[in-house]
């Protein structure tokens, strides 16, 4: 399976994502987000970081990067699109995922590990989760998810909410940590599964996430 990791100016988790993908034998490449053709890739990852400095609003400027047209196309075609942290922020700004991410309710950047509840273990991204809870790293200042009531109702009804926080660290509405789009192929999440794949670093709770992707795409079974 071929994966592109987009590198926006200011992205800083692009290599982390790249190494995680490589670790699972996925043929990954870091692609400059100024490039506009992503037809070759089965999956596109928007990594964490501070695209364009997160100036104005996180993700606000990145959504106009040339690659985003190609990301939309991939999303429409049902390929995987995954946004982690800043990537999630970009996907909401671009309208590929509903809602928005505001600054944390208690101001300031938080780096920690938090318990997540798996709300939907049947999504393309969570098929391989064999547990109800995961411990994953977070590192963000603007992870406070917001959606209006109508959107929330829909998210719940369609089981688009994939992860919620056990102890809400940022004020997100309904404790939401990660969601998918209606079709289920675009996923955004604030915590960092790519930071939790290497036993040497002491946490491998991110692994089932990558395994799910591989399983869904038929590489693993």
């Amino acid at each position: 399976m071929k994966a592109a990791v987009l590198d926006f100016p200011g992205s800083n988790c692009d290599f982390d994502m790249y190494y995680a993908l490589i670790d699972f034998g996925i043929d990954a490449k870091i692609i400059d987000a100024r490039q506009s053709n992503l037809d070759d890739y089965d999956a596109i990852f928007l990594p964490g970081g501070f695209s364009y400095g997160d100036y104005l609003r996180a993700g606000a400027i990145a959504r106009f990067a040339p690659a985003m047209e190609a990301v939309k196309k991939a999303a429409d075609q049902g390929r995987f699109v995954v946004g982690i942290c800043n990537g999630f922020q970009i996907l909401t700004e671009a309208g590929l995922l509903p809602g928005a991410l505001r600054m944390n309710a208690k101001a300031g950047f938080i780096c920690d590990q938090v318990l997540l509840n798996v709300e939907n273990d049947n999504s393309l991204f969570t098929k391989n989760l064999y547990r109800q809870q995961l411990l994953l790293p977070i590192a963000h200042a603007g992870g406070n998810y917001y959606a209006d009531q109508e959107t929330l109702t829909k998210l719940h009804a369609n089981r688009q909410i994939i992860f919620t926080y056990q102890d809400n660290p940022n004020g997100s509405i309904d404790d939401i940590a990660g969601i998918v789009n209606e079709k289920g192929n675009v996923f955004g999440v604030m915590p960092h599964p790519e930071r939790a794949v290497d036993p040497l670093l002491g946490n491998i709770d991110g692994r089932p996430f990558f395994e799910s992707i591989l399983q869904t795409s038929g590489v693993l079974n």
Binding site: L56, R57, A60, I61, F64, T92, E93, G99, A100, R102, M103, N104, A105, K106, A107, N144, Y146, A147, D148, G171
Partner: protein, 87 residues
């Protein structure tokens, strides 16, 4: 040349986390008369345009497109003509 002053605020229904933080800080500093705080953004943008109407149109367009997130924010603005030499 035109000068646009653009004010961005959260939509009324949306809780403004930063505003809340500032309100509590003001209360801690004994400014307990403060009832509510909303923090928004303020832009001063200078642009060339052939006339005020064109400038206004452009401003409304790029504010919606870039400066605000339409899911949660709104904006108002004031536009004035300024002389080009002015810094």
């Amino acid at each position: 040349m035109f000068l646009a002053k653009i004010y961005v605020t959260y939509k009324p229904s949306i809780l403004d986390p930063q505003g809340e933080v500032i309100k509590s800080a003001l209360h801690r500093l004994d400014y307990t008369d403060v009832n509510s705080v909303m923090q928004g953004k303020y832009f001063e943008i200078k642009l060339e345009a052939k006339d005020q109407r064109t400038a206004a149109k452009e401003i409304e367009e790029f504010s919606d497109e870039l400066l605000i997130n339409v899911n949660m924010e709104t904006f108002t603005y004031k536009l004035s003509e300024i002389s080009s030499v002015e810094e």
